[in-house]
């Protein structure tokens, strides 16, 4: 049984990712095809595999020192009001 995503699911995900979808159909078909292809992962037989990741030592981390940023980053930002960054209202 193919685990195809339907239109509704894709709309939900688009909402989660904060994207207004203009051309639904084209996206849905392409995303479905890609996901269908991803099913190949089921055949890899890797269920018992452990996940390995790059490691480092505690000593290599940054020392706790205050070092102020030397530029006025606020001035560089797009929209601000007084000393604050402006964002649209919440709900």
């Amino acid at each position: 049984m193919k685990n195809l995503v339907n239109e509704e699911e894709i709309s939900e995900v688009a909402k989660l990712m904060k994207i207004d979808l203009a051309d639904h159909n084209d996206h849905i078909k392409r995303v479905q095809k890609m996901l269908e292809y991803f099913d190949i992962l089921d055949n890899a037989g890797v269920e018992s595999e452990e996940i390995t990741v790059q490691e480092t030592d505690l000593d290599k981390l940054r020392d706790d020192k205050y070092n102020p940023y030397d530029k006025n980053l606020l001035k560089f930002l797009k929209s601000y009001q007084g000393k604050y960054v402006k964002a649209p209202k919440l709900n």
Binding site: E55, L61, R62, D63, K65, V85, A87
Partner: protein, 469 residues
């Protein structure tokens, strides 16, 4: 049975810099948006640089709460969109792919009840939202990112609490512990915040968010238990929901819009490799760990013969226990301890007062010595303390300036006693009938001499004068 679980967010305020960049960890003194850099603002191409001391301090907390600590820690991204999150994800920890948050499965005793610590994780604080005008009519949200990236430790307990009182006790113990570890100053505004989940018998779990202070946490939990009980009595179903603590009205209110179902798409933060914390490092940290409050208390009791109550008060406060340890020379320990708990704690009851105080441990040992050798009275000692805190001058000078020397001249004292007896005829009669009330007259003499009268001599003279034993 009522079940209460807590999620405590504690800023590591004793750190110099933020969790992933070199901006200041204590953002409080800054103008809005001046304690920011490309990293904490999530400017494209910037990368997080993990603060070594943050890992160490968080590990100390985990150890102090009897947690298991991992051989390596990993960071994860918790993805959600919110204007206070510059990257629209929070770098935090998760117990996945083996245990990789900074601590898990710990415990702490609260009034002889064991509270289990589910996990401890190191994460970044978001920025702060400022709502313009009244919430209803708000046209926009203003954001100050100074706080974004401040190191936080989240401590999650099992739902082991049964009463708001236990919650309060736990918070007291926890604040003392964090202060004692020198990782956080729980007194700083916003340094400690909490969410709670509350359920009563037969009801669903309700989450309370947004509780800005520990004081309110107890109230919020109390309010929520009462609310749930009153629903249960009226046979109204308690639904699983998130409620916000309304700081102004001191009630919990249902989060108006149903929050989007949490879908955080957790995945590893690859910009930070897994950090190995080997046994050697752990042992070094353990060795650095300050004495725990309970063992300090035990030591005070057994070594100095101080009452458990006084020892407990002293041990649980980092500032006063340090003062005590420096000022006592074993022979005067009891006096120093009493002086701290009865006088100094009242005089230096806020951080601001402590910060400007000129009191040194040396003052305290001198003072204890003078009281012991009867140079000044306990009452004068308190006056002297007041003055020392203000100007920090040597005790001998202060005694002179304030004229605090003992009044032990018999004829002067006799004159004053005669005056008092003339003024307090009724009390004098009472004392003759009931010698135990003579202390009232001693007090009057003290008042007249501004506390300088030698108390023993006063008592002897009074008794002689009233002809009582």
């Amino acid at each position: 049975m009522t079940k209460i679980g807590l999620e405590i967010h504690c800023q590591l305020t004793k750190l110099e810099s933020k969790l992933f960049c070199s901006c200041k960890a204590d953002y409080r003194e800054f103008e809005p948006n001046t304690n920011i850099c490309p990293v904490c603002m999530g400017i494209p191409g910037s990368l997080p640089l993990l603060n070594k001391s943050a890992v160490e301090k968080a590990t100390l907390i985990a150890m102090a709460l009897d947690c298991k600590t991992p051989g390596k820690i990993a960071f994860f991204r918790k993805n959600y969109f919110y204007p206070d999150l510059p990257k629209n994800f929070q770098i935090t920890q998760l117990n996945a792919y083996g245990n990789t948050s900074i601590g898990w499965e710990g415990r702490i005793l609260v009034e002889d009840k064991q509270i289990k610590i589910r996990r401890i994780q190191l994460e970044e604080d978001p920025g702060r939202l400022i709502y313009e005008g009244a919430t209803e009519k708000t046209k926009l949200t203003l954001v100050d990112y100074n706080r974004a990236g401040t190191p936080l430790v989240e401590i999650v307990t099992d739902p082991d609490f049964e009463t708001p009182h236990q919650v309060r006790e736990f918070l007291n113990i926890l604040s003392d512990l964090l202060e004692n570890l020198n990782v956080s100053d729980p007194g700083l505004e916003g340094a400690m915040r909490a969410d709670a989940n509350v359920s009563i018998e037969g009801g669903s779990k309700v989450e309370i968010k947004n509780i800005g202070s520990f004081h309110d946490l107890e109230k919020a939990v109390h309010f929520e238990i009462t609310r749930q009980h009153s629903l249960a009595e009226r046979k109204i179903e308690i639904i699983q929901e998130t409620r916000h603590w309304d700081d102004r009205r001191k009630i919990t209110v249902s989060a108006r819009t149903k929050e989007e179902e949490a879908e955080y798409r957790y995945h590893l933060e690859a910009d930070i490799p897994w950090v190995r914390i080997n046994d050697n490092t752990k042992n070094q940290l353990r060795a650095q760990m300050p004495e725990s409050i309970s063992s300090k208390k035990e030591r005070y009791i057994s070594k100095y013969d101080i009452t458990p109550q006084v020892a407990g008060i002293l041990a649980s406060d980092r500032y006063f226990s340090e003062l005590f340890e420096k000022a006592n020379n074993e022979t005067n320990a009891k006096d120093v301890a009493n002086m701290i708990t009865t006088d100094i704690m009242g005089l230096l009851d806020t951080r601001e007062k402590r910060e400007i105080s000129k009191l040194e441990a040396g003052h305290l040992s001198d003072l204890a010595e003078c009281v012991k050798s009867n140079k000044i009275t306990r009452a004068s000692a308190k006056l002297a303390l007041d003055e020392i805190i203000k100007n920090g001058k040597p005790l001998s000078q202060i005694i002179e300036v304030l004229d605090l020397g003992h009044l032990s001249d018999e004829s002067t004292l006799s004159d004053i006693i005669s005056q008092v007896l003339n003024e307090e005829v009724k009390a004098a009669e009472d004392a003759k009938q009931n010698p135990e009330t003579v202390n009232f007259l001693v007090g009057k003499v003290m008042q007249k001499t501004h506390g300088k009268a030698d108390p023993e001599l006063t008592l002897t003279l009074l008794k002689k004068n009233l002809d009582i034993e």
